[in-house]
Chain length 198, copies 2
């Protein structure tokens, strides 16, 4: 006895998604197959709607608006002379919530396991650097990477690929987070907070 | 700035699936939206194929074969006088791999949080009990539930709902698992293994 082939095929598709293991994929496929037809249709419909989404040619963020740029990159009030490089779309959303940044973004993705940028990432950075150069160069390139070893590596790689197009390359500040008690802060955080005291 | 509405709608659909939280749902929606169109189509296709799956009227296991019964329930070599109740489809698959059981199954689902069977589960059990009674009653009803408190509760509820249709109600044996060392076994397991010594 095995699962029907359509269920196995769906589980295999699902197992290819990030953070979904083969057992979870089987459970999900079984769950979806047990849903009433109208709920299956709703899921199919939601997936189908993705055909309306395209990626902004400038920053890579998904958008549905007409034209080839997202809301931010099409906004004349957002300075094109500052670019903030983020790893993930959700990082961009978190940073936008702060409401203090009036420049543009570039979503670059995680650094692959090997620690070097993928050819696609190199291409995106080279294209964006050229776009910036053609417009007279950037005033500032902000590396909004996580305060982790992987983040540092990504920052290094992005600087190497695109730093030449900017007069200044900066990184997000580090130190004690809100509510952070000195007693419980690790040494690196305390070191940052000392270096960036004000 | 927010995610495009189609991405948010997909994330909301995904967040309704078991074991997928809202953040993972957003990550998944973003990932799927960044896939090339042909991979999105493949996923859509796999989901669409689920329309070929139906549930066996006798045991509830999904099947694609014509007719209203699955392979096992349609197999004249599998005794209809023994029914093994399992919680999940994957439990059935694990038990079938052992290759020692020649009866039928009934997939009943987990016991809801409140600890009492849902009206749907009650209905499935009542229908299956009637089917068994009409055929002269079962020789044996096997409760293949996990060796957990939740499993015990489920076993109790199933016995109450369907035990009357069987001459004998049994549970899977308990004791030391393969490779289990006495030194590391917990008291309950050792107690089971003493009770079931042979």
């Amino acid at each position: 006895m095995r699962l029907p082939s359509s269920l196995r095929a769906l589980a295999e598709s699902l197992a290819k998604l990030p953070s979904i293991g083969p057992r979870q994929a089987i459970r999900l496929a079984l769950h979806v197959s047990s849903l009433p037809r109208e709920k299956q249709q709703a899921l199919l419909g939601a997936l189908g709607e993705l055909s309306r989404v395209s990626r902004c040619v400038e920053c890579g963020f998904p958008h549905e608006v007409s034209g080839d740029r997202c809301e931010i990159c099409a906004d004349p009030n957002r300075s094109a002379r500052t670019v903030m490089v983020v790893e993930k779309e959700t990082d961009l959303l978190s940073l936008e919530k702060v409401g203090r940044y009036a420049g543009r973004y570039l979503v670059i993705g995680s650094l692959p396991r090997g620690g070097t940028l993928s050819p696609e990432q190199q291409q995106v950075l080279a294209r964006r650097a050229k776009m910036a150069q053609d417009a007279g160069g950037l005033d500032e390139l902000i590396l909004a990477v996580s305060a982790t070893v992987a983040g540092e590596h990504l920052a290094g790689a992005v600087t190497a690929a695109m730093g030449g197009a900017a007069r200044k390359v900066t990184k997000l500040g580090r130190g004690l987070p809100r509510g952070g008690e000195i007693e419980f802060a690790d040494e690196d955080t305390l070191g940052y907070s000392l270096d960036s005291r004000h």
